[in-house]
Structures are given as structure tokens and as C-alpha cells.
Symmetry: C2
Subunit: 364 residues, 2 copies
């Protein structure tokens, strides 16, 4: 990547997650090992209640709220367990006895969220794209929503099928969203939401921390008498137990990097340019075929096929030889997947497109 | 610390957790940023299903089993949520409808574990040292155990009160232990156990990963139809969701460091020498008073008092000025606490003892 002086070592990383992080964040982390500033140890080796970590944690929370335009009515928490734990924790807190919640099913992650919600109560699947192997986002006009639902849950971006909501839905009830794979890649109309959760390992940090944002009025609607660690009320306003200190420390650096690169509008421009470049290359020829339907294409995970599985295998292998890493599609779908999260550079995408043209010329 | 060439920068770290890690592990981590070997990225930026991470994960599991003498009937998992999540997950899996479990109460962590267990079923507190502010480990001969309990739960080391079980208890039922704060500091008679869990951030790694070891026959006694992420069966033999990749990577390095330093017997010698040095200094004078009773003293967290709280505050401040960090006792107890986990060096303890002698001479 040409942004830094490690161009010769860091290759083009299209990993679907854990994904590429900004090179300068990795360099800062290196420079702060084995000793962080004048601390006398690394940041991994200090109490989570120390002034140093408290400052990092508060900085991360405040920067995240500022980037998203969240007011004082929002809480930011750095929890553990990934989105998979949130699939259960959300309905445990907010699906009430005798009530129900609305879910949109756009792929594997939604399906898992629905499965866990059904343990807690009644689930109304308002729309699904399962009929076309999840290659599109169902039109909101056709959703069969329930105005009495506790919330409406959706997955904003689907890493496996390469689809993404083009915009925030609207609903009569609070939205709850798994934003793991496009979090902080664009602005969010946070007023429509009660809760947002994101495993960090796509756009905002390393694996091992889950950002959960919850609005105070929605928090107050949760069920009572929950297991301590699974009650969101345990974690707002205080550190109940030891957080994943190093992961939050990296997240804080990534947030600074986003700010420095124009905030969420800067990310929109950056990600838009990458997506236009890559989809443009796919659409310019019949050799490559995008798998997601037009209006549903993801700017984070670009999925496409070649004329045969043999050619796909050769494509992945030859790309790797040229320093274009982790292009293999998810094991459940096959094909090619280039993940172009925030930290992925335009240079990386251009290198991929250049490779695609040459590969087609040799194999088309 | 004199073991490495960063002696001038790394100070003497007595943090109760997240605690000190071996200096050479921190240096290795630095050297592998921003690029790990020939990977083209850091280890934070690769799929958890990649060959590189798979090798790290398998190495960590195998090394842990080898250190503890665990056979093929043991599963090792790297989960999230800390011991606090295990306080709930253990009884959710193993406290059966109509049954009960035995718990020994030796302090704050045990008390929290008991609280969560009561949500799941009947809890029999077989012994408690609450009568003396948890300054001792109750004699096993006086425990009122239930031969039909699903398991017997205890906390092997109590960070706040500076107490530690001198040896593994015996029981007619499988032992379940929160070994967070003395894990891999000494051998464990694993045959007596059904499950062991340890937040990594004391002896084996950074915060954000929880090692859980479970024996196959005990696993088979768990309840059915549990929330996916909270069912131990979800996590044995496979990675269900994205693990805390970087934290496990550090744990793997710490395990290698333990091996290189004589394994668990090496840790016994190392920790024994540190404890003898520090308790020796405390017992040599009336100026310092150990808070834990004789047979219950912890080799991991050495807690003591000075003649007044004013002197304690001055002790902590002056020690910090000499590069002796994080000696303040837990906020619930006050006093002084020197945590001497595996990675804490004898040189650090000797520096502390030297300071203690000078401080007494000036203030005694």
C-alpha cells in the first residue's frame, strides 16, 4: 500500500474479516510496544480503571458518538462475544413476554439472529430474500411490519452475499441493526434507531470487541431481572468487568484515522470510488459476473463469479502470487469476494482491477 | 526489568490485572507489527479460518493441554466475556432442573458466581470466610458438601483479599474452578475437575480472551436447548464465530515463554521465590502487616497494611516515583497490593523490598 513507508511489506488485503486496518494504525501500535509513552509498560498491562485506559475508553466513546452525530441520549459500550452474542442479547433484553419483534432476513447473519430471537419470544419475519439465495435486499414497500413490534431488526450489509441496504429503513418502531460489516463506512440516521451493534473486525478494529450503541429511551424498555452480564443496563455508564483493553485501544486509533480522513463523508467518498472502480471492471466484461442484484450491491464486499470454478481457483491463486490476498468467496457460496472495508485503499482496488484485466486477457 | 534490553523503559509493574506480561513477548509482538512474517499484513488483519491463525490457535490449545497434563478427553476453548460471563454460563449449562450445585465463597468473585448461579437453580454454599472479611480459605474438613451436587465451584485465588487455595480440593463431584488469577502459576490435579476457566489478563495474556477447559464426560452432562453462544457444545472442536485473534496470539506466545522457563514447575519455583522474598520482608517488621491468614496467603496477590492510611497513600506515591507501579489495594479494601503474577520478575520484587525497607526507615 503506497500510503506508508511499509509499501514493500504490506500487501493488498481483501480479507472479509478480520479485515485490513489502516497501516498507520498498525505502525502506531508497533511504536507503542513494548512501552506506551511514559507508562513503564504496554497498554495491555495496565488496569482498566487506570487513568490511561479511562482516557482511551472515553476518547473512543466520544469520537464514535461525534462521528455518528449521536447526542447525550446515546450510550456506547465496548462488549465481548461478537455480533453472535448480540443475536441473543438483543431479544433477551427487548423481546417482551407476549410481544413480538420484526426481523428482515437478508442472509446468514439475519438467519442466525432470527434463530436466537425465537428462543426469547415471537418473531415476525417481515421480508426475506432467501428465494434468490439472498442476492438482493427486499424492497421496503413490501415488508409486512407490525406496528406493535418491540423493534425491527435488520443486517445492514451481508458479507457473504455481497448485498447492502442502500439507505436506512424507516419504521414505526425503533430500528435495531447489526452494522458489523459496514459500520462507520457512511452516516447513519441514528434517530430511527434504538440499538446498533458491530463486531469491530471489519471496519473499526481487531476481533474481540463489539461496539454496542443504545439510546436511553430504548434501554428503559428492556426486560427486568436479566443475567448480569447480558443486561445492557450493567454496562452503560460504567465498566462492570475487564474490557478488551487492547482492542479498544486500536479502535480508538481507527476512529482518529477516520476523523483525519474526512469523517463518515470522507469514508463515503473513499468507499464510493473503490466500489465504482471494482464494479466498473466487473460490468465492463462478460468474463466477470457480479452476484448481487443492481440496487443491492455492497460497497464493502464485492462478490463475483468467473466462467468456471476452475478459473476461480486459478484466479485466487495467481492473485495471491501478485500480493492480492484473501479473495476467496465464503465457503457457502464459492466464487470471488473482494472486501473493501474502510482501510482498504484505492491503490489496492486498482491493483486488483489491473490483475483482473490481465487475467481475463490470458484466460478469457 | 533486567531480563531484556528495555530495562530503562519498562518499570516494575505490580498491576492486579490486566497485569504484566513477559517483556520478550511484548517485544516479539512489536517485531511482528505491522507485518507478521511473510503474511503481508499483521496477524490482526487475517481471517480466523486462515492457515496462519489456525496454526496459532491449535498451538495454543496443544501447549496449554501439555502444560497442564490434560489428555485427549479435554477441550480447550478461547471464549469472550471474562470470568464474569462464566459465572452465568457454568450454571446455565450444568445446574439441572431440580438439582443443585455446591459453591465455596472466598470473596467478591465467588460471591458474584453464586449470585448468577442462583438464577439457574439451587445453590448450596458449602463454606464461606465472609465472617473474617474473606481473609482465609475455609478448611475443607468443615465443608458441608452435597454428594449429589452437579459440581463444586471455587475460586482458586482471590485477587482482592490476597488469599489462595494451598492445594486442589477433593470432592465426590466434578470440581469447577475460576482459576483466572493463578492459572498456569502451578500444576493442577486436572483429574478432579470438570471445568476450569480463566480470564487471561492475570497470568496468560491480555484482557479480552477467556480460556475455558472442559472435560468431555462433564460436557455431556450439560443442559439441552441452550442459547447458541452460551452452549459450551457450540465451541468445542470448532470456531463457531470470530475469536479474539490478537489476544489468542499473545496467549500462545506466553505459553511458549512458560515452557521455556521450566513449565509449571518452573513457575512454582519462580513464584515461590518471589512470595518468600516479599512475605519475608512483611513478616520481618511490625511496620508492615499481611492481611491474609498464614496458610491462606496468595503467591499472586500479596496484600498488606501500613500503620495508617496516610502512610499507605504516601507509600504508593513514593513507590510510583521509583518506578514501582500499581501498588494500591483494591478500592473495596484499601491498603497495599503487590500482584506478582508469572511475568513479574524477582528483580521487581527485590526492588520493592528494597523500597519497603527504606520507606520504613524514613517513616517508621
Amino acid at each position: 500500500m503506497s500510503e506508508t513507508n511499509v509499501a514493500l511489506e504490506r500487501l493488498h488485503n481483501f480479507s472479509a474479516g478480520p479485515g485490513a486496518l489502516p497501516a498507520e494504525v498498525m505502525e502506531e501500535a508497533r511504536d507503542e510496544l513494548p512501552v506506551y509513552g511514559d507508562l513503564g509498560s504496554s497498554v495491555m498491562e495496565i488496569s482498566h480503571r487506570s487513568p490511561t485506559y479511562t482516557a482511551i475508553n472515553e476518547s473512543a466513546k466520544e469520537r464514535m458518538k461525534a462521528l455518528l452525530g449521536m447526542g447525550d441520549d446515546w450510550h456506547v459500550m465496548f462488549l465481548q462475544g461478537g455480533a453472535s452474542m448480540q443475536f441473543y442479547q438483543v431479544p433477551l433484553n427487548f423481546l417482551h413476554a407476549g410481544g413480538s419483534a420484526d426481523y428482515v432476513n437478508t442472509g446468514s447473519w439475519s438467519t442466525k439472529a432470527i434463530k436466537e430471537a425465537k428462543r426469547c419470544g415471537s418473531v415476525n419475519v417481515v421480508a426475506t430474500s432467501e428465494d434468490a439465495n439472498f442476492n438482493y435486499i427486499p424492497e421496503q414497500s413490501a415488508w409486512r411490519t407490525d406496528p406493535n413490534a418491540a423493534y425491527l431488526h435488520f443486517t445492514s450489509n451481508n458479507t457473504i452475499f455481497g448485498t447492502q441496504f442502500a439507505e436506512d429503513p424507516t419504521a414505526d418502531v425503533p430500528l435495531v441493526c447489526d452494522v458489523s460489516s459496514d459500520f462507520l463506512s457512511r452516516p447513519i440516521s441514528v434517530d430511527r434507531y434504538g440499538l446498533l451493534y458491530a463486531g469491530a473486525q471489519k471496519n473499526i478494529g481487531p476481533a474481540g470487541v463489539t461496539a454496542v450503541m443504545i439510546r436511553e429511551d430504548f434501554l428503559q424498555t428492556r426486560n427486568i431481572d436479566l443475567p448480569t452480564m447480558l443486561d445492557y443496563g450493567t454496562h452503560v455508564n460504567k465498566l462492570f468487568n475487564t474490557p478488551p483493553v487492547f482492542a479498544v485501544y486500536i479502535v480508538e486509533k481507527v476512529l482518529r484515522w477516520i476523523e483525519k480522513n474526512g469523517g463518515l463523508e470522507g469514508m463515503v467518498a473513499r468507499n464510493g470510488e473503490k466500489a465504482a472502480t471494482l464494479y466498473g471492471a466487473i460490468d465492463a466484461t462478460d468474463f466477470y459476473t457480479g452476484t448481487a442484484q443492481g440496487g443491492s450491491r455492497s460497497k464493502m464486499n464485492v462478490t463475483f463469479r468467473l466462467p468456471s470454478e476452475d478459473l476461480e481457483a486459478r484466479f485466487i491463486e495467481k492473485a495471491k502470487g501478485e500480493g492480492l490476498l484473501a479473495l476467496k468467496g465464503h465457503r457457502s457460496t464459492g466464487g470471488i469476494r473482494a472486501s473493501t472495508y474502510n482501510a482498504c485503499t484505492l491503490e489496492s482496488v486498482e491493483a486488483l482491477v489491473d490483475f483482473m484485466r490481465r487475467f481475463e486477457a490470458q484466460n478469457g
